[in-house]
Subunit: 133 residues, 2 copies
DNA sequence: AGACCCTATGTGTAAATTACATATATGGGA
DNA sequence: TCCCATATATGTAATTTACACATAGGGTCT
């Protein structure tokens, strides 16, 4: 059966235009500042501006990043609760984050271009609110 | 056989983080300003900041947009060369473009948040160059 | 002890999206 | 005629995302 298309009948448009793999740089960015396990990352990231983070996806990405040598992990069995897999970023991971940053900057420019063309007709203006007195 | 992963051996990272369906709002935006056929759109858009536009993808998107009632088309057999399918945006298309705009604004904020956290360590700064004198 | 919930990490798989290759046709110029 | 630029389109593999589900530790309430 067919899944809901973007614009479904109830008018909710959940996730138009989210960039591919956007979780990747966000995760690496957090891991650059502090080591963390998946569940912890998930909570921090959900306060980042996402509607929701798919945990299955998040754990899968972590495993893939590890396979690619961009993060490393080890079990923490000492602290309370179920064992946690603590992730740390590697040098390769930081370099990869740099590449991501330049890519995001590039896309940022595209969005700006979009709004440059868009605004003349419909002055939506995302931030930087009006108040021209 | 497996396709190239993002970061391939020669260091070229073609398309990290390109947003999903980004062609859609760009195309609608252009169609809002003037009716056009696919080939024409492709050329204008390739000057927008994309490395390359997949024409198969572009034509497929146009057909899908038409199926969804966001654009309409008619053949132009009068002018030179092969027949062109001229597309026009509909009211539904313009509304859809609005939704896209707010979605892109939202993502713009996320990127800004990203750079707010990223910069303290690595002052990449996408635009708005330094010169603090 | 058993039921229940929160933490924590994963796998299975269908759907959606993108990338790459290829097919077809018109018309102009050499 | 052959080639090239224009113009539209399909086939299909690879990638990415979404949604469902599985497993397990440890605390609390009864």
């Amino acid at each position: 059966m067919e899944r809901n298309k973007e614009s479904n009948s109830n008018g909710k448009n959940a996730n138009l235009g989210t960039p591919k793999n956007f979780l990747v740089p966000i995760m690496l960015l957090h891991l650059r500042d502090f080591n963390a396990h998946g569940y912890e990352l998930m909570q921090k990231i959900s306060q980042f501006g996402f509607n929701a983070v798919d945990q299955g996806n998040l754990y899968r990405i972590l495993r893939q990043l590890e396979k690619d040598g961009k993060v490393t992990s080890e079990w923490d069995t000492a602290s309370d609760g179920p064992a946690k897999r603590i992730y740390s970023i590697t040098d390769a991971g930081e370099q990869y984050l740099e590449i991501w940053a330049s890519s995001l900057a590039n896309y940022q420019n595209m969005i700006n271009q979009f709004f440059n063309l868009y605004q003349p007709f419909f002055p939506f203006q995302p931030k930087e609110s009006d108040a021209e007195k």
